[in-house]
Symmetry: C2
Subunit: 275 residues, 2 copies
C-alpha cells in the first residue's frame, strides 16, 4: 500500500480506468491501492467522470453498495465519429487507390493502429448497450478492426479461418458464396473457439453484398450462437437492394462510386450517421 | 479554449498522453488547450512523470526550448514483464492444448486483446531505443501482436500475405522453406506497402527454426529494407542449434517440451528474461 496525494491519485486512477474498459472495479480496490478513504476516492472519481464526459471520452458508471464500484465505458461522440468518418472518406477518395478490377487499396489505412483504434471506439459506442460475449471476424483484413473493437469492449476475439489449420484442432467448416463472381469459398472455425449460445458481434473491413458476413452468420448457427450485431468499416453502395444479403449492420463509410477510367472514387459517411 | 482546474487538467493530460505514445507534443498545445501558463503545465507534467515512473508505466521525456515539448514512451518493467511471461507459461502448459502432431492450441490466448496489448508493451519496451519505421508480420496469428506493438510504438503495421491478393495491387512474392517437413511456401507483399530503406521490426506469434521469419527477412531485402529487430511471443526450444536459421531475436516464452503421450507441456520464460 502506498499513500498518494490527490494529484497523483487522479493520474493513477485515470490510467487505471483507461486500461480497464467495461470492467467493474470495486472502490475498495482503489482505497487499498492508495491508502485513501472511500470518500476521497469517490471525490476523485467525480472529477474524472466530469472530464471524461466533457471530453466525450465515455461514461464513468458508479454503483453504490457492497458490490458497488466503478466502470469505464469508452465512447466517442457522434460529432467526433463523423469527423473521423469524413477524414476516412477523404483518404479513401485518393485516386491512386483504384486497382485493376475496380478494387480499392485500403491496406495502408488498415495498417494504422491509431486509425483502427478510433474505428474500434466507434463500434464500441454503437454496440455499448448490447449484450455481447465476443467479437468475430474472418481473416485477414478485418482482424485489426476486430481486436480494436474487442479491446474497447473488453471482449475476446474469435477468428474464422479460410482453411482448416493444424493449429486449430477440430473445426467446423462451411461453404459460402461471395464476390461479384458469386464464387464458392470455405470458412472454418475451431470447435473450441466459440462456446454454445454465445452472443457474437461480427466485424469486418469491407462489405459488398454481404456474402462473407452471411457466411459467418451461418457458421454461428452451427455453434448455436447468435449475432449480437454487425459492424463494417466500409460498405459498397454499388449493390442492388435485392442483391444485398444483409440489412441490419452498422457501416462507418459507404463507397458510392469507383470509376476506373476517370480514376474517380466517391465515398460518404456510412449508415451509422444516418440515424 | 477551456479553463480547467489543475485536478481536471491532470486527468485530461494523462489521457491525452496515454493515447499518443511516442509522439512529441509541444507544451503550447496544452497551454492553448487548457488556457493555462506553460509553467503550470510543466508542474502538471512533473506530477504525471513521477506517477508514470513509480508505476513503471514508462518515461515522460520533456524537451526544453522553442521546439520543446513532451513525449510519452510506454514501458513495462522487467519485473512486471516476467509476471506476465510466467502467467503465459502457466496457461500454455495446460495439457488440453496439445493437438495431433504435437501442435499447441494458442488461439484462445491470441484472441485476448488485453493479453496481446501487454505483450505489445513488452516488445515496445524491448525495442524502444531502436530506430524503427514500421512493424511487419505475416498473416494470420501474429497480426494482433503486431498491431499491439505498433500501437505502443506509434508505428504502422505492414502485413505480408500468403498469396497475392487482388486488393493489394502489384506485389513482390518470394518462396521460403518452413515447418518440420521443410515444405516450400510463398509469401507476398504489396509494392506500395513498404518504402525503400525502411527499418522494420518483425513480430510473430510462434517461431521454431525461424523459416517464416527468415522469409520475411528475405522479402525485406527485395525492398532494400532492413531488419530493426525480431520479436516472437513463443519460441520452440525443441530445435537443434544448427537447424536454427535466426539467432538475433526476442522471445517472451520458450516451449521446451511437448509430450503427446503423457500430455506434458513445458514452457519457460523466453530469452528476453535471460539478459
Amino acid at each position: 500500500m502506498k499513500k498518494l496525494k490527490r494529484s497523483a491519485r487522479l493520474v493513477e486512477l485515470t490510467q487505471y480506468l483507461l486500461n480497464r474498459p467495461h470492467t467493474l472495479i470495486p472502490l475498495t480496490t482503489f482505497a487499498d491501492r492508495y491508502g485513501a478513504a472511500k470518500s476521497s476516492i469517490s471525490e476523485d472519481l467525480a472529477i474524472i467522470k466530469e472530464v471524461f464526459e466533457d471530453e466525450g471520452m465515455g461514461d464513468l458508471q458508479t454503483f453504490a453498495g457492497a458490490t458497488g464500484g466503478v466502470r469505464f465505458i469508452p465512447k466517442m461522440t457522434k460529432k467526433q465519429a463523423l469527423l473521423f468518418a469524413e477524414d476516412l472518406c477523404a483518404q479513401l477518395e485518393q485516386r491512386d487507390r483504384i486497382l485493376p478490377g475496380g478494387y480499392l487499396y485500403m491496406s495502408d489505412l488498415l495498417g494504422e493502429p491509431s486509425l483502427m483504434n478510433e474505428a474500434g471506439k466507434i463500434f464500441a459506442t454503437a454496440f455499448a448497450e448490447k449484450e455481447i460475449d465476443c467479437v468475430m471476424t474472418v481473416e485477414t483484413k478485418g482482424i485489426p478492426l476486430a481486436y480494436a473493437t474487442g479491446a474497447q469492449l473488453n471482449l475476446p476475439v474469435v477468428l474464422v479461418r479460410r482453411d482448416h489449420q493444424v493449429t486449430e484442432g477440430s473445426a467446423v467448416s462451411i461453404n459460402y458464396v461471395s464476390g461479384s463472381h458469386k464464387s464458392i469459398h470455405t470458412m472454418s472455425l475451431s470447435r473450441r473457439a466459440l462456446k454454445e449460445k454465445s452472443r457474437v458481434l461480427i466485424v469486418d473491413d469491407f462489405m459488398k453484398a454481404g456474402g462473407t458476413i452471411q457466411g459467418m452468420v451461418d457458421l454461428l448457427a452451427e455453434f448455436n450462437a447468435e449475432v449480437a450485431g454487425v459492424g463494417v468499416l466500409v460498405e459498397s453502395g454499388a449493390v442492388e437492394t435485392e442483391e444485398r444479403l444483409l440489412h441490419d449492420y452498422v457501416s462507418l463509410a459507404k463507397l458510392t462510386a469507383v470509376d476506373f477510367k476517370s480514376k474517380q472514387i466517391l465515398v460518404s459517411p456510412g449508415n451509422y450517421f444516418e440515424s
